[in-house]
C-alpha cells in the first residue's frame, strides 16, 4: 500500500539485538537446548520482521513510531525493591483472590517462586517453571505464538524471561480467582518483555484477574504475551484491568487455544493508558467450544486504544460473541478490529460481533472494522458497529424528572458502559469496577485509585476526566 514508506529501523532494535546476544551468553545459557532453540528461532523471526508498521493492515490505525523512538533501557535482571510488601497490597474490597505480582516484568514471590496448591495447581514465576517443569514448557511454551507473523510476538518469545505461570491439572476447579498485578514502577524508561503461560487441563476451571498498573509517571513500553491452553470441558474467565499512565505503551497479546466444549470469557477494561493495544487470538479447536470476548474503553486526552480480536472457528458447533464499547473524549482515538474466520466444514457456527462508541468531541476518533470471513455454509453470523452521541430524547426525559444535565449525562454514559460491566461474573470485581467507571466518568479516577500499591508519595497532579460539558455535541467516525 505504502511501499515507498521504507521500513524504518529503530535504534531500539539494535539495542534489543545486543541485549539478546548478552542474554544468550548468560541467562539463556542455562536453559534447555529446546528452549534455547525456540528463542533463537523467534529471535531470527523478529530480526526479519521488525516492529509493527502502519502499512500492515492490522496496524494501520495504531502508529507505534513515537513509542518505539524513545530511549528505553532493557533491563536484564530483576530490581531489588526495598518495599516488597507494598507490592502485595490490593484494594478490591471483598475480593478473595490468590495474588501474585509481576513488577517490571519480574515475578515477585509472596512465599515461594513456584507454589503447588491444593489439587496440584501450580502457580508462580514462569522463569522458575522453565527450570522445574521443562516438560510442560516444551509442550506449551510458544505452541501458539510460533505461528504468529508479528515481530513483537517473536521478540517476546526470544527475550522474555519471566512473568506468571499457572497450571491447573485435569478435574480441578480453581474456586479462588488468581489475581496477577503487573505493575510498571521503574524510575527509568524501560522496554519490558513479559511472558505468561496458563495451562488448564480437562474438566477444570480458572478465573484470572490481570491488572496492568503504573506506579508513577515514568514512560514505559510493555510487550506482554500470554498463552492459554483450555482443555476439554474446561472454563476460563479472564479479566484484564488496565489503568496506566499517559506515557506508557502496552501491547497485550493473548493467545487462547480451546478444546472441545471449553468455555472462555475474556474482558479487557481500559480505563487509562497512553497507548494500549489488546490482541486477542482465539482458536476454537474443539466441537462445542465457546468464546465471549468483551471490551470497555474510556479514553480522553491523547490516549489511544486498539482492540484487535481474531477468532478462528476451526470446528463445527463452535460459538463466539464479541461486545466492545467505548467512550472517547478530547482527542482520544480508538480502534476496533474484529476478525472472525469460519473455516471450511466448520458448520453450525454462531458468531456475533458488536462495537459501539460514544464520541464526545469532534476530535475524538474511532476506526471500527468488524469483519467476517466465512468458508462454511451453515452458519449464523452477524456484525455491527455504531458511533454516536448521547440520545437527546433520553436526556430530555431524564431532565424532565428533575435530573440535572450533569447527572443525566453521567447516568447515560454509565448505562452505556454498564452493558459490558454486567458481564463480569465475580460480584466483588463487578462492584469495584462499577465504582471505578463512575469515578472515571466523573473525572475522579487517578491512576493511584486503582493501583494496588496505594502509595503516598506518588505524583498526584494528574487527573483524568471526561469533560461532561461536551457531551451531546457531534463527533465523527471513520469506518
Amino acid at each position: 500500500m505504502k511501499q515507498e514508506m521504507e521500513i524504518r529501523e529503530f535504534p531500539l532494535k539494535d539495542k534489543l539485538i545486543v541485549a539478546f546476544q548478552t542474554q544468550k551468553q548468560t541467562l539463556f545459557a542455562n536453559e534447555s537446548e529446546t528452549l534455547q532453540q525456540t528463542r533463537q528461532e523467534a529471535f531470527n523471526r523478529f530480526v526479519a520482521e521488525g516492529f509493527p508498521r502502519t502499512n500492515q493492515e492490522i496496524w494501520r490505525n495504531t502508529d507505534l513510531t513515537h513509542a518505539l523512538s524513545q530511549d528505553y533501557a532493557v533491563e536484564l535482571h530483576p530490581q531489588d525493591f526495598k518495599d516488597q510488601k507494598d507490592l502485595l497490597q490490593c484494594n478490591v474490597p471483598h475480593l478473595e483472590a490468590y495474588q501474585m505480582v509481576v513488577a517490571n516484568g519480574w515475578f515477585y514471590p509472596k512465599t515461594g517462586k513456584l507454589e503447588t496448591l491444593t489439587g496440584g495447581i501450580i502457580v508462580g514465576s514462569l522463569a522458575e517453571a522453565m527450570k522445574l517443569h521443562p516438560e510442560l514448557i516444551h509442550t506449551y511454551f510458544d505452541s501458539m505464538t510460533q505461528k504468529s507473523s508479528e515481530g513483537l510476538i517473536a521478540l517476546n518469545t526470544a527475550m522474555a524471561t519471566d512473568g506468571f505461570f499457572v497450571y491447573i491439572p485435569d478435574g480441578v476447579i480453581c474456586e479462588m480467582p488468581l489475581q496477577i498485578v503487573n505493575v510498571m514502577r521503574s524510575q527509568n524508561t524501560e522496554f519490558l518483555n513479559i511472558r505468561n503461560l496458563v495451562i488448564i487441563g480437562k474438566n477444570s476451571s480458572l478465573t484470572l484477574i490481570q491488572c496492568d498498573d503504573s506506579y508513577n509517571h515514568t514512560p514505559g513500553f510493555a510487550n506482554v504475551v500470554t498463552e492459554v491452553i483450555v482443555g476439554e470441558n474446561s472454563g476460563f474467565e479472564h479479566y484484564k484491568m488496565q489503568n496506566l499512565n499517559n506515557e506508557t505503551t502496552l501491547i497485550n497479546s493473548i493467545f487462547i487455544h480451546e478444546e472441545a466444549n471449553s468455555r472462555v470469557n475474556s474482558m479487557a477494561v481500559s480505563l487509562n493508558g497512553g497507548s494500549i493495544r489488546n490482541n486477542i487470538d482465539i482458536k476454537l479447536d474443539g466441537e462445542g467450544s465457546n468464546a465471549n470476548v468483551y471490551g470497555l474503553y474510556l479514553m480522553d486526552k491523547n490516549q489511544h486504544v486498539d482492540n484487535y480480536v481474531h477468532i478462528d472457528h476451526l470446528k463445527p458447533h463452535t460459538t463466539s460473541n464479541e461486545l466492545f464499547k467505548g467512550i472517547l473524549d478530547d482527542s482520544a482515538t480508538a480502534v476496533f478490529n474484529g476478525h472472525v474466520k469460519v473455516w471450511p466444514n466448520a458448520q453450525k457456527i454462531e458468531a456475533f460481533q458488536s462495537n459501539k462508541n460514544l464520541l464526545l468531541t469532534d476530535k475524538a476518533l474511532v476506526n471500527t472494522k468488524p469483519f467476517l470471513e466465512i468458508y462454511a455454509d451453515d452458519v449464523k453470523c452477524s456484525h455491527g458497529a455504531t458511533v454516536g452521541q448521547l440520545d437527546t430524547e433520553a436526556m430530555f426525559y431524564l431532565r424532565s424528572r428533575g435530573i440535572s444535565i450533569q447527572s443525566a449525562r453521567t447516568l447515560l454514559m454509565y448505562a452505556f458502559a454498564d452493558e459490558v460491566i454486567q458481564k463480569i461474573v465475580i460480584e466483588a470485581l463487578k462492584v469495584r469496577l462499577e465504582d471505578m467507571v463512575k469515578k472515571r466518568l466523573q473525572g475522579e479516577l487517578t491512576i493511584c485509585d486503582q493501583c494496588v500499591l496505594h502509595c503516598d508519595h506518588v505524583e498526584k497532579q494528574y487527573s483524568f476526566e471526561i469533560d461532561m460539558t461536551k457531551i451531546g455535541e457531534t463527533g465523527k467516525s471513520h469506518c
Partner: protein
C-alpha cells in the same frame, strides 16, 4: 393562579406551531385539552416542560408567579411540573429504581432537603407501585426497555406518584392502552388528585374523560384554543367529531 399562559407562540425549526395560546389553571382543577392531530397539543406540553427544540417566539408562561422561560427543564420539574410522555423513552442500562432515586433526590436537593434515606425511599416505591399496579420486577428493569404500551404508561403515572408534582401534564396518556390498563392509569391519576395540585390531560378521544372527569375542556385547533367549556364539551366533540372545527362553524 397556578399557571397562566398568555398569547403563547412557539415554533420548531422555524415552523410556527402555537399561534397565541391562552390558558389559566388553578390548583385543584383538571383541564382537558382536546383537538385533532397536528394542532399543537403535544407542542404545548413540551413547551411547558421546557423542551429545547421548541422556541417560544412570543407570549409567556407564568407558573407559581415565575416566568418559566427563566427556568431549565430540570428546574421546572423541581418546581413541580411533571410531563407524562406520549412516547416514554427507553433508557437501557438505567433501572427504574436508580432513575427515580436520582430524580427524587435531585428534586429534594433543589428544595434544600437532604436525600431520602434508602429504606424510606424503598417504602415509598412500594406504596406508589401499588397505586398503578406496577409489577415489582419491572422496577428492577431498565427504564421502559421492552415494556408493553400499557406498562410504559403505568410507569409514567408511577413516576408522577413518586415525584408528587403540583402540575401534571399528561400527554395522550390513553394512547395505546387497552380498557383495563386505561382504568388502572385513570385510577392512579384520580388518587393523586388533591386541592393542592392540578392536572392537564391532553387527549384525542373522549374515552379517557369517562375516567378522569375534567372541570374544563379546551379545544386546541391550529395552534390556538378555539373553544372552552365544561365536561359536556367533550361529549359534543365526540358526537360531532373534529370536522366541524375545520369547517369553521363553531
Amino acid at each position: 393562579m397556578l399557571l397562566r399562559i398568555r398569547n403563547l407562540h412557539a415554533s420548531v425549526n422555524g415552523k410556527q406551531i402555537l399561534k397565541g395560546v391562552n390558558l389559566e389553571v388553578n390548583k385543584g382543577e383538571v383541564h382537558a385539552i382536546m383537538g385533532p392531530n397536528g394542532t399543537g397539543k403535544s407542542t404545548l406540553a413540551s413547551v411547558i416542560a421546557g423542551r429545547e427544540t421548541f422556541e417560544v417566539t412570543e407570549g409567556e408562561i407564568i407558573y407559581k408567579g415565575k416566568n418559566l422561560s427563566d427556568l431549565s427543564i430540570e428546574e421546572r420539574a423541581s418546581e413541580g411540573i411533571f410531563l407524562g410522555f406520549q412516547y416514554p423513552v427507553e433508557i437501557p442500562g438505567v433501572s427504574i429504581t436508580n432513575f427515580m432515586r436520582t430524580a427524587v433526590n435531585e428534586q429534594r436537593k433543589y428544595r434544600g432537603l437532604d436525600p431520602l434515606p434508602g429504606g424510606e425511599f424503598l417504602r415509598m416505591m412500594e406504596e406508589k407501585k401499588k397505586l398503578v399496579e406496577l409489577q415489582t420486577k419491572l422496577t428492577n428493569r431498565s427504564v421502559n426497555e421492552g415494556f408493553s404500551g400499557g406498562e410504559k404508561k403505568k410507569n409514567e403515572i408511577f413516576q408522577m406518584a413518586m415525584l408528587e408534582p403540583t402540575l401534571s401534564i399528561l400527554d395522550e396518556t390513553d394512547s395505546g392502552l387497552d380498557i383495563d390498563a386505561l382504568r388502572i392509569v385513570a385510577n392512579g391519576v384520580n388518587n393523586l388528585r388533591s386541592a393542592e395540585n392540578a392536572t392537564i390531560v391532553i387527549t384525542h378521544y373522549q374515552r379517557l374523560l369517562d375516567y378522569i372527569v375534567p372541570d374544563f375542556v379546551h379545544v386546541l385547533f391550529e395552534g390556538r384554543i378555539v373553544k372552552s367549556g365544561g365536561k359536556e364539551l367533550a361529549l359534543e366533540l365526540e358526537n360531532k367529531g373534529y370536522e366541524w372545527l375545520k369547517q369553521g362553524t363553531f
